[in-house]
């Protein structure tokens, strides 16, 4: 029976191939969309959870978007006076505050990072964002010559990295967060300042702004639960010279943008899917008329009505499953291409989907297309049941 199904499909190879390709394209688009949506959803959720700060404060003159600070790993050289930390800590409603100092690696070709990467100095005394990782380290702290690297940082091989001329030891690799941490190198704030101070490429900043030991790049603030974040943000804004960003607003904006983008992409994907569904149904509806002769002959030669139904369902399922398998490969390739592009942009949170998430997507899409295959085979299968074996007696040649 399998051989008959195979022969039946291969001898109409143009029809079969076009149906299979239509299914593959639909599955591919839907699968790639699913993976992207999953990656962004998990990235947003994890980023929001891991960011762990209600407000982000950066210098007002900084020519960068808050999204870039929060989600991109590219170097951001923005600085402000470090005494702001105490001033803001004194504002009513501020629960806790921690400074960060940004520097960057160089484009070194040997033994270090191949591209400039953001170096984040955090304050071990006040930080609550990376402490969960630091506590897991031997001794529960990060030494001055140690670094933590984000899960998406490339270029570091082995346990050492030469950063701005100094060899530092990799203490741990962070779990994916969906934020800029994934593309950053973290070190105690004093180490970061010391490295930046010695960098000939950053002297322009120190000449203008003074000693980096007194500077910070960003402040992360948690607000008391009973206080409105917007009220605290307004109070900080009143100090002047600062941009105060509510992280929840940033995530909400990104979510909204992503939803619009996904709706557009989903529309395209669904159109492709609907087109393939129509083609699939048309193909199998036409079988009921095209192949009466062949089915009549099979009946005369001993095929039962059930055999014919199996034959039709087998053809349909072979095409849907074959198309789905090709589609999953195509979809993954498409997703990988988009993923590479997104990694370059790094402008919004994204975490590569887990295996279980991918498998769920494969299962749901496969079940959907199997149901489609069964539905499309139903009509011709019903028609085949009406074919009498005696019809073979009156047939001419069979195409």
């Amino acid at each position: 029976m399998l051989q008959i199904i195979w022969h039946s499909l291969t001898r109409r190879w143009v029809q079969s191939l076009s149906t299979l390709v239509a299914v593959a394209v639909s599955v591919g688009i839907l699968f790639a969309l699913y993976l992207l949506y999953l990656g962004v959803s998990v990235g947003l959720g994890t980023g929001e959870k891991r960011l762990g700060a209600d407000l982000l404060i950066i210098p007002a003159e900084a020519q960068v978007d808050p999204e870039t600070v929060l989600f991109a790993g590219a170097p951001v050289n923005i600085y402000m006076d470090g005494t702001l930390t105490q001033k803001i800590a004194g504002i009513s409603g501020v629960k806790r505050i921690t400074p960060q100092f940004f520097a960057q690696t160089l484009n070194e070709e040997c033994c270090s990072l191949s591209n400039a990467t953001r170096l984040i100095g955090f304050d071990p005394g006040t930080d609550w964002l990376v402490q969960s990782w630091v506590k897991k380290l031997p001794g529960g702290s990060l030494g001055p010559d140690q670094i933590l690297i984000g899960s998406g940082v490339t270029g570091i091989k082995g346990k050492d990295a030469i950063i701005l001329g100094k060899t530092l030891h990799v203490a741990a690799v962070l779990d994916p967060t969906g934020t800029s941490l994934d593309y950053s190198i973290l070190t105690p704030i004093d180490t970061a300042r010391s490295l930046a101070k010695g960098s000939p490429y950053l002297q322009l900043f120190w000449g203008k702004l003074g000693d980096p030991q007194r500077l910070i790049s960003a402040l992360l603030v948690d607000v008391d639960e009973h206080v409105q974040k917007s009220d605290v943000a307004l109070s900080i804004d009143c100090l002047g010279g600062l941009t105060v960003v509510q992280s929840s607003d940033v995530f909400k904006n990104i979510k909204d943008q992503m939803n619009v983008l996904f709706l557009i992409m989903l529309g395209g994907g669904l159109l492709a899917a609907v087109a393939s569904i129509f083609q699939f149904f048309a193909r199998f509806f036409s079988l009921a008329w095209d192949r009466k002769g062949e089915w009549g002959l099979y009946r005369a030669l001993g095929a039962t009505r059930r055999d014919l139904k199996l034959l039709i369902a087998g053809e349909s399922l072979t095409l849907t499953l074959g198309g789905a398998i090709v589609g999953f490969i195509l979809g993954y390739l498409l997703f990988s291409l988009i993923f590479i592009y997104l990694q370059k942009q790094k402008a919004f949170p994204f975490i590569e989907p887990s295996l279980s998430g991918v498998l769920v997507g494969i299962a749901v899409i496969t079940v959907f297309f199997i149901l489609l295959g069964i539905l499309s085979a139903w009509f011709p299968a019903q028609q085949s049941g009406k074919i009498e074996p005696s019809s073979a007696m009156a047939l001419g040649d069979i195409d």
Binding site: R12, A300, L301, R305, S390, G396
Partner: protein, 224 residues
């Protein structure tokens, strides 16, 4: 009796095609059904071959009533025990000669019959045509492929409906000789034909006249 029709009648709507027809065929013998066009020869062949249900009467195979079997059981019996050669060769155009012959085996889920199919085709003079498609064959070659397909599963009864139609006298004689060799190999042959020369080779011949069958003396056919 290997195969027997008992009081068979067949009506299409209100038109009577066969009326109280009874006949039988023994293993290793041949039966020819003749009659004018539209007299019901193919209908009788279809009923005997379990391709068509009679309106009344019954068909017995090895003494067992088979016309009342379920559709699936009749299908399996056709596949296992009967071979059919239709009026037109009815080959599937996009299958090779060998694959056309193998269709009944594949419906029976029997594998490893390629060698046997090749042997039958070789016996029928088609050794060098195994990979040909039907459109590349002459009508005589197509007929032989249809014969090979009918013989592949070693059927007990072969039903042939006008198997020499459209053939030149030489090819028709060759096919006829081949078919009438089969009963000698413990098979039975039921053949519908207008060809009196072919019919004269049978062990028994019947004619359908006015929806009923009557025996034709073989000698009459030979002289006629």
């Amino acid at each position: 009796m290997l195969l027997e029709a008992v009081n068979i009648s067949k009506k299409y709507d209100n038109e009577v095609v066969l009326k109280e027809v009874s006949l039988g065929i023994e293993q290793g013998s041949s039966l020819v059904i003749t009659g004018p066009s539209g007299s019901g020869k193919s209908t009788l062949l279809s009923i005997l071959g379990l391709l068509l249900q009679p309106t009344e009467g019954e068909v017995l195979y090895n003494g067992r009533k088979v016309s009342d079997l379920s559709d699936d059981e009749r299908s399996r019996l056709r596949n296992r025990s009967f071979g059919f050669i239709f009026q037109s060769p009815q080959l599937i155009g996009s299958l090779s000669v060998l694959d056309n012959v193998l269709v009944p085996a594949r419906l029976a889920r029997k594998r490893s019959l390629e060698a046997k199919a090749e042997t039958i085709l070789k016996d029928l003079g088609l050794k060098n045509r195994l990979d040909y498609l039907p459109y590349q064959l002459s009508i005589g070659q197509k007929r032989r492929v249809a014969v090979a397909r009918a013989l592949l599963l070693d059927p007990i009864v072969i039903f042939a409906d006008e198997p020499t139609n459209d053939l030149d006298p030489e090819r028709a004689a060759w096919i006829g000789e081949f078919l009438f060799e089969l009963p000698r190999k413990e098979r039975a042959l039921v053949l519908v034909t207008h060809d009196t020369r072919l019919a004269s080779k049978a062990d028994r011949a019947v004619q359908i006249i006015d929806n009923r069958v009557r025996d034709l003396p073989i000698g009459e056919l030979k002289t006629g």
